[in-house]
Assembly symmetry: C2
Homo-oligomer: 373 residues x 2
């Protein structure tokens, strides 16, 4: 199999687990947060900086790359790894989330989805087969089945029909997929209905995908619903395969996901808020572009060992962000990705040495107390 | 003296010369092109990348830093070097060029210039004394006298009055300047009138500045006028002091400036065109954002050893620029600064080994033949 998972240790009192994801482009210790490189680049970062931060796997996007520069061009370039000069693992999202986010610009049928490009309005058609063709051209290590990411809220009938179509599409993806060096993951849907989540999982697990994602969460629902859906779903997923919670990337959701048995996460939030001048700290968030930091000569986060914190002050970074200087966005992005990489490494370490429940308790206590520095 | 110049070798048949600029933040081999970091950052670049490219001195801007974040803040931060994490040499422009570019937003009197900020319209006053105060707060190694960069075209009477005021301002700058660890350079003006250029030089040279700039060129005049002004001015400048041609940064102007005895240059052009998707090559310019490069899997410039050319294709960089991705601007900027740094190093080497006239001839022959790849 192209991608396998080795379970190393489970937390005896929570669902947390530490493992290794083996890919054709290297091993990735889990749990892991995957930085998002939507358009074949993690915004503002070089591959070398991502490695310095410790990234072993990044995510890129089928919908965006299909539109620009086109998957055939990337195939000609020798695949996405070579195109973007990244020799570690890549996971590509199927484009389902992006296409369904287009609202009035798309039409869903059993065969697939017709949509208009958000860039130039041109009409396109994505089907499970087409999405496999695109991802095979990209050559990512992990590719995702084409699913419907249903809206929230949505009624039970809609969700039931949708998840069943997602299962049929997963079957078509599996049938269409030919590259032996790629792993195709299935995606559990089911909206905010625990029994439908379980039905989705029961349909997909026998299809024996090498990994499973939980999709359609972090779409605007209250946190407790996300946690309930995870608790209903994860126990039905195979223990020997990686589990991926899509679209999650804040420390609180990450630790809650890990405690419920999730191994992989991704989210644009850490890089997006960085470009708006907000950084993540162990106490929540700090909006360095705000006036109180104008003459603050401390690093973004005291004690942080990242490149930005070792060399620059809040005052300097605020100046750069206020004057729209790219190097400012580089520094805040670097810091946020470093913070999440080290947070995940810390969680992993605590699972391995048996202290995860303490780390979890300490985090939730502190995070409840204070969100902004 | 804070900054001294060692002349190492002169070309016997042209004015070209190789030397070393000694500064409190290191020695800089000359002739040199100084990358511009207007707002305390060379746009898109980290200090480490600038060092990798070989930059020993960069330029920053008094007008911009005075407005944002303010020179007092930079003084509190420990000076510009510390603020921006750059431990090599810095030259700051006096703000004269920026203030005079404001047109209707500024009023010139003998005492100084009243102007409105281009950012928020607030009113400010810059005088020779104020400009010294600001640059002393910044702590740059080389600071520039406050001058009037006269418009082109301008009549003889205007230019004559203007250059005489520039001389009086230079005297006031010299009187106001106190920091022994900084070198204050004078600026020769005189518009496009050779005799007025010479008059300006004759007024400034006896004031014994540690270096001289030629200002008010590269302001829209035809190239031959620039060359004539240099030929009229440079022979009057002291041989044992550095000579700086302000606002020049294309290969053709650089080699022409070097051949006429200029040691230092700066210009925003290489970094600005990079962010518009145009790169410099040994044959002129290549606009990588253009359609013909969509499937071009060659580097920006074949044979170039820079980071961008060693690792990325035109197709990838075009994709990044077209999708407005910051990493694309980083790569084109890196390449352009590398090209100029290596071009200047090559000129210096040729002066040292006596082949500058050949290099000059070869360049002008090739450049005339072909401008775009």
């Amino acid at each position: 199999m192209a991608v396998t998972y080795t379970l190393i240790k489970e937390c005896p009192t929570t669902g947390a687990r530490a493992g290794i994801l083996h890919t054709p482009h290297g091993d990735v210790p889990t749990p892991v947060f995957m930085p998002v490189g939507t358009q074949a680049t993690v915004k503002t970062m070089s591959p070398e900086e991502l490695k310095e931060i410790g990234a072993g796997i990044i995510l890129s996007n089928t919908y965006h790359l299909y539109l620009r520069p086109g998957h055939e061009l990337i195939r000609e370039a020798g695949g996405l790894h070579k195109f973007m000069n990244w020799d570690r693992a890549i996971l590509t999202d199927s484009g389902g989330f992006q296409v369904f986010s287009l609202g009035d610009l798309r039409k869903i049928k059993e065969e697939g989805v017709t949509f208009r490009s958000h860039i130039d309005g041109s009409e396109h058609f994505l089907s499970p087969e087409k999405v496999m063709e695109i991802q095979e051209a990209l050559g990512s290590d992990i590719i995702m089945a084409f699913d419907e990411c249903a809206p929230y809220p949505a009624d039970r009938e809609y969700i039931k029909n949708s998840l069943e179509r997602t299962t049929r599409w997963a079957e078509r993806c599996k049938k269409a997929h030919t590259r032996q060096d790629q792993a195709l993951f299935g995606i559990v849907q089911g909206g905010m209905y625990a029994d439908l989540r379980q039905e989705s999982a029961r349909q997909l697990v026998p299809m024996d995908f090498p990994g499973y994602a939980v999709g359609g969460l972090s779409v605007g629902e209250p946190a407790h619903l996300m946690y309930e859906m995870l608790e209903a779903t994860v126990p039905l997923l195979p223990q020997n395969k990686p589990r991926y919670l899509m679209g999650v990337g804040t420390a609180d959701y990450l630790i809650e996901g890990v405690s419920r048995g999730i191994d992989m996460f991704d989210c644009v939030l850490p890089t997006r808020i960085a470009r708006n001048g907000t950084v993540m700290t162990r106490d929540g968030y700090l909006t360095v572009r705000n006036a109180p930091y104008a003459k603050d000569f401390r690093p973004l986060e005291e004690g942080c060992e990242c490149y930005a914190c070792r060399n620059y002050t809040r005052a300097y970074i605020r100046h750069l962000i206020k004057t729209n200087e790219i190097f400012g966005f580089r520094l805040t992005t670097y810091h946020n990705l470093y913070v999440l990489a080290h947070f995940m490494a810390k969680l992993r370490e605590s699972i391995l040495n048996g202290t995860f429940p303490d780390v979890y308790q300490e985090f939730t206590a502190r995070f409840g107390r204070k969100k902004e520095d």
